[in-house]
């Protein structure tokens, strides 16, 4: 039995993540991300007007991919397209819940593609990020 999702097991309209995984936004995770991306944005180093530490908008790349990893494809898959709408940044201390749905499955030039919509809300249901990701599926053994 493989330890990844088979392309043939997915259908358009499927809820890809069930149950919806959670992601805790910690100062450690944010600091590590900022350091790894060499991001010196000043607003990320201070608290906002309400005493909250703001996470980089593109931390979405971490919590969305973290969620999708729970149903990962075979090794070698790559990112083809990405859309994000940042409704607001996440704050340190929040717990994020990301849902995803398979929108389209198609093949082009011998490569298999998966298009998924994602939606991330915090623990109180506030919308943080929505997006669409297109991945080229890795070759299955």
């Amino acid at each position: 039995m493989s330890d990844y999702v088979k392309y043939s097991s997915m259908s358009e309209g499927d809820d890809f993540l069930d149950p919806v995984p959670s992601f805790k936004v910690t100062a450690e995770r944010v600091n590590k991300y900022i350091k790894s991306t060499n991001d010196g944005t000043q607003q990320l180093t201070v608290e906002d007007g309400q005493g909250r530490r703001v996470a980089p908008p593109m931390l979405a790349a971490v919590y969305v991919i973290d969620a999708l990893r729970t149903r990962v494809g075979p090794p070698g898959g790559i990112h083809a397209k990405q859309q994000f709408k940042f409704h607001r940044p996440a704050y340190v201390g929040e717990t994020l819940l990301t849902s995803a749905q398979v929108l389209n499955l198609y093949e082009r030039k011998g490569r298999k593609y998966v298009e998924m919509t994602t939606e991330t809300r915090n623990q109180d249901g506030e919308l943080i990020t929505s997006g669409m990701i297109t991945r080229i599926w890795g070759k299955e053994a």
């Binding site: 010196g40 090794p75 990405q82 607001r88």
Partner: protein, 141 residues
Amino acid sequence: MTELQSYEGYSVGDQLDEITQSVDQTMINAYADASGDINPLHIDPEFAKTTFFGRTIAHGLLTLAFVSRVLSAWNWQGWAYGGELNVSFLGPVYPGDSVRVSGEIDQIEKRGDGIYARCQLACFCDERTVVKGFVICKISP
């Protein structure tokens, strides 16, 4: 929607301040660690040799982190609170590449809830375009 040529210091044709970021395997490994995306295509040279690319490549979302740095410096409020990003990954970033991120405002429009600017974005490694797309951010209060 009404199209404008300029608004409060923003004009169609304005170039965003570019950045150039060098990428090496150490940075890719650090991003893999920070993001949890440990696809062997990014971090395992032996596995990567067996793929179409023949060697490791950076995560596409690492390149988007550089895009985010440019957009944060340009218009933090509009980017982090409501920014919409739409990009395609056109080519790989290899260890040893330098990624140049550029952007230009190509549209300013008045919507019901404010003024928005659209910027065309591109990331280059030398003459190769590796990411292309656009972002829409609010530029009015």
